[in-house]
Assembly symmetry: C2
Homo-oligomer: 453 residues x 2
């Protein structure tokens, strides 16, 4: 018995070692394919420079979907298709303007927040009142009527992971206008959600509370925000603001989907994706052109090394993440309606920077299994595996079908320098950093495909 | 007995926990000081934009030393001084030029290698012979006479840590000219040590073997290198090259040193540093302005939070790392002559990028001790502690006095895009990435100061 047990153990151990060596070699092969022959950077150049901004409903969206469909086919998809969804169609409608007039005059670098309503052709003006927080607004609520509320809440530099600073600050962008309108403000101006060293204003989605008037709302660049605050400390002033945003009727957009069909368990689906839409004021290079071209690159590389997945892998460029999430919702709705079996989904939507960690929203048992793969992936950048991971576009899948989700977490230091700002352009992306993101996701997808979850 | 033992254990545990909490709070305090009030970025702007390139012997070197001495004092040094050392004085002497003439003509983007001798005013010309390696040169040695040898050895993209690619390729820059001269070549041209997407040539030190003629040597930009290789595949051609490098007599340079005096063990010295010199063709922002301003920032922050070190901490801006290492040698020589007790030295000379790991050349016992601090530092970026660490400037200290050494290892993906190239400018440095490097070093220095090594 003892001999038999030992033999069994020995063969188990050697099988385990063999498969670990095999996995290590396969991941090296995929990594080399990406680091030597990647198309991700060239694809990103095309998406950003030839197509550019691609907000839901825009011409850019239509062009990007066509490009995505074509590139999925060229990159080796067994099948590619467009999944239709109804998307909102907000337009900026013109140039956003704001100027300060007090003891001195100054044109301010501003941009209307996404989903906000324009001021009308005459613009709106009012005395500026600076508040540091919603508590500060409450304290000053009797002074707000007829004024422009300037939310000067700073992006906290002491959060080492910058997404914490974003989570901490973005309520002023999302809710600030309605909170100010509640007390009679005529417009809202929000300090940009950034700690960049430049003055570019950062847009992003806001939403109105239907109880209050839909007042115009802009983001202001950081240097101008500091200037305004210093100027207001010396005396009063007014802001004249003109914005032109409006909603056109909803229109048709699409998730772009490519698929590699599973050879053993075709009904088990693994999803990897990013979102194809971007704000209109930039090229959407980091947000989220990077996630899109990484997604496509993972497919290209798996095909290029001749890997035949056991399970079905779906590569998805989601529609309308920025101001509606209709793409992510549609994907989940259809998955549920068709009773599809989704075993895992991962999203790259935190910029094309050097990968540092993979985050997972999975069961304890699944997390233990995943942790066993860490040493295989760590050499390529993601040396930390953490609990909690997903993405806006795959969130609906998790909620609808309890699909385990993950996220690629690249280094976050530079993300909010460019996020939703005119500086989010191709030149801000580094070729190797972008490629390494694809390498780390490809390695994970390979392991989940091979061993299940 | 049992009760007593338990009490002892309990008090040890609670002491340990207390001190860990205390350390965690102190490190948080230092980090916040740096992330909120850092002067590192402004200091770097001054060093790069007001002073610029600062090769040993140049006017830039003299200006940088004066600035360094002043900034050490302003940043709170108990004492600051200049440590004199004799430095080499190589000058570029003019504009480096090379052009190709074959079936087509093209001006090539080149830069003379540091320490190389100029071609003379008439330049030098010869048929180009491309080699892929020293082995390839050996195979073609009978064809080399009178020719320009073009080393087209590619920076290997499959090394995830880019310093491995540098280690792999830089022998062609260092020894290529003499290896070619050995077989009668009239000049050498080396593919730049980089995988950047641009065409900037990258200089760096070379050395002649005194057995062979000192032929001119340049680095060529990557796009031009690829073009040249493709063109040569179609037919022969000649290169006309003109460089003007020469050595002037050795001159006087200085290490710039600031010191915080130890309150309990003033004779135990901890050194932290970077090198003040840079190549002349760039602003030396990442190499190694970043290391210098981080070093100064660690001192400023320790003073600002009111920390009184137990041991003496030396903050050193080393002279002449790039083409002589005279500063590092001088520092070690004087330490040895004065019989100083150096317990640890760390260098930041791998760019001002997001910190990822700390490397250590220490004993097993010391490494075990250091590993216990990992959880305190990891939240700020350096989540990996690895064996092997130091720097060119502190290497002599390690060799002379067996001083344990360490290095800050930031993310390496972008370093060789700019290293020794005209693109190594202030704008290539991100404020927060730079600051986080200082945070991680400050945390380590605090722990080593408090607990010894």
């Amino acid at each position: 018995m003892r001999t038999v047990s030992l033999l069994v153990i020995c063969s188990m151990v050697s099988l385990a070692s063999f498969s670990q060596i095999e996995d290590s070699l396969m991941i090296r092969k995929i990594a080399d394919e990406i680091l030597i022959n990647s198309k991700a950077y060239d694809n990103l150049r095309h998406l950003t420079k030839k197509i550019g901004g691609r907000l839901a409903g825009s011409q850019g969206m239509v062009k990007a979907e066509k490009w995505g469909y074509q590139i999925m086919q060229e990159s080796g998809a067994d099948k590619a298709w467009l999944q239709e969804c109804i998307v909102p169609h907000w337009v900026r409608g013109g140039k956003d303007e704001a100027s300060f007039k007090g003891s001195t005059m100054k044109k301010l670098d501003v941009i209307a927040l996404g989903n906000s309503m324009g001021s009308g052709p005459k613009g709106v003006s009012g005395e500026v009142i600076e508040v540091r927080s919603f508590d500060d607004l409450e304290a000053k609520k009797d002074l707000v009527k007829g004024k422009v509320v300037f939310y000067n809440y700073k992006f906290n530099p002491t959060f080492v992971r910058t997404f914490q600073a974003y989570g901490d600050a973005n309520k002023y962008r999302g809710q600030g206008a309605s909170m100010a309108a509640k007390y009679g403000a005529v417009a809202a101006m929000v300090r940009s959600m950034s700690h960049s060293a430049d003055n570019n204003p950062h847009t992003g989605a806001m939403r109105y509370d239907s109880l209050y008037p839909k007042i115009p709302a802009v983001a202001i660049g950081l240097r101008d925000a500091d200037w305004l605050s210093e100027t207001l400390a010396k005396g009063k002033g007014t802001i004249q603001m003109k914005t032109n945003g409006k909603f056109l009727p909803d229109t048709i957009g699409h998730n772009v989907i490519g698929e590699l069909k599973g050879t053993e368990f075709p009904d088990e689906i693994i999803t990897i994706g990013g979102h194809l839409d971007s704000w209109d004021n930039c090229e959407g290079a980091h947000d989220d052109g990077a996630g899109c071209v990484q997604t496509i690159e993972v497919m290209r590389a798996l095909k290029a090394v001749g890997y035949k997945p056991k399970r079905t892998i779906r590569f998805v460029l989601f529609a309308n993440e920025e101001n509606g999430l209709r793409g992510g919702n549609k994907y989940a709705d259809e998955a549920k309606a068709k009773n599809e079996k989704h075993i895992f989904a991962i999203e790259s939507d935190a910029g094309g920077f050097t990968p540092r960690s993979l985050g997972f929203t999975v069961s304890e048992e699944q997390f233990k299994k995943i942790l066993m793969w860490k040493e295989l992936i760590a050499p390529y950048g993601c040396s930390e595996f953490t609990k909690g991971g997903g993405g806006a576009d795959i969130g609906p899948l998790n909620r609808a079908l309890s699909t385990p989700t993950g996220s690629l977490n690249p280094d976050s230091q530079r993300y909010f320098d460019v996020h939703h700002a005119r500086s989010d352009v191709f030149e801000a992306v580094n070729k190797r950093e972008l490629e390494l993101g694809a390498v780390n996701m490809a390695a994970l997808i390979y392991l989940i495909d091979k061993y299940g979850l």
